[in-house]
């Protein structure tokens, strides 16, 4: 048997690898809507988000063999994405003293309610004081470290453990950043609330 002719076993291995690769790509593509949703709120513009998602998929398809089948593919893709985002040096961190003052967890509700004429309004009506645009603008005001966690957990619906794995930080840090991030978001929302 000549060296150049691949053995039956080798041919089978190549075919299996090709099949695994196609399956990986299909599964990854099915998650692209969810990956984009997170990416879009981690960066400022649609163009940046599209670039970031494209680079993420290009890298994922190149290094698909590093993915362990059966583990969380969505988290694996987001790990690539957040690393690329950090590599791009897009993070302009605020220094701690520039970070907004934090209010308590009831702050937004109390602020919105205080603008309403009714004595004890329904919470649905209080929520109606907010516009969708205000949410987008308020999210953009949350400093990156807090926003990444907020976007992963509250928009991407990742667990604390998954967010910790994606961002490579301890779970305790995820929780504290999430809590602060939500407070900052609510404070920003209170400032942008519609006043009719």
């Amino acid at each position: 048997m000549s060296e150049s002719a691949p053995s039956a076993a080798e041919t089978r291995r190549i075919a299996e690898e090709a099949r695994d690769r196609v399956r990986f790509e299909e599964e990854a593509l099915q998650l692209s809507d969810q990956v984009y949703r997170v990416a879009r709120r981690m960066v400022s513009t649609r163009e940046e988000a599209e670039d970031l998602v494209q680079d993420t998929y290009a890298r994922a398809f190149r290094s698909w063999q590093q993915y362990t089948p059966g583990t969380n593919l969505r988290a694996w893709l987001l790990r690539i994405l957040t690393n690329l985002n950090i590599d791009r040096g897009r993070r302009v961190q605020r220094t701690p003293e520039q970070q907004p003052l934090e209010e308590g967890d009831y702050y937004l509700y109390n602020r919105l309610e205080s603008t309403m004429p009714d004595e004890n309004p329904d919470e649905e009506r209080v929520l109606e004081r907010l516009s969708q645009n205000a949410v987008v603008d308020a999210l953009a005001e949350v400093p990156h470290d807090f926003r990444d966690v907020l976007v992963l957990v509250d928009i991407g619906e990742f667990s604390y453990a998954e967010a910790a794995q994606i961002l490579d930080i301890p779970i305790g840090t995820v929780m504290s950043r999430l809590h602060r991030g939500r407070r900052i978001l609510k404070q920003q929302l209170a400032e942008k609330a519609v006043t009719v």
């Binding site: 090709a18 690769r21 196609v22 790509e25 593509l29 692209s32 809507d33 984009y36 949703r37 879009r40 709120r41 649609r46 599209e50 998602v53 494209q54 998929y57 290009a58 398809f61 308590g104 967890d105 009831y106 937004l108 509700y109 109390n110 919470e123 649905e124 209080v126 929520l127 907010l130 969708q132 645009n133 949410v135 987008v136 999210l139 976007v151 509250d154 928009i155 619906e157 604390y160 929780m175 999430l178 809590h179 939500r182 978001l185 609510k186």
Partner: protein, 75 residues
């Protein structure tokens, strides 16, 4: 300002995220049942999270979807 006790405000986030112990959950539920202002603020918070998720969602363009599909090894 809710009931003014401060404890339930501090418990709001962990309660929503379901990371409290069984005892703490029972305590929070008992308090909420007896304190309509806090209960309303908790309901507001739950609805706010959904509102934020919906408002933040911007669908991916068809163009990007096609570009991603084009990155496949066997497209």
């Amino acid at each position: 300002m809710g009931c003014g006790c401060g404890d339930c405000e501090a418990m709001m986030q962990p309660y929503m995220d379901r990371v409290l112990s069984d005892d703490q959950i029972r305590e929070a539920k008992e308090h909420l049942a007896a304190c309509p202002p806090c209960e309303k603020r908790f309901r507001f918070e739950e609805k706010l999270r959904v509102f934020v998720r919906v408002a933040a969602d911007e669908p991916m363009s068809e163009g990007l979807k096609e570009k991603l599909a084009g990155l496949r090894s066997a497209s």
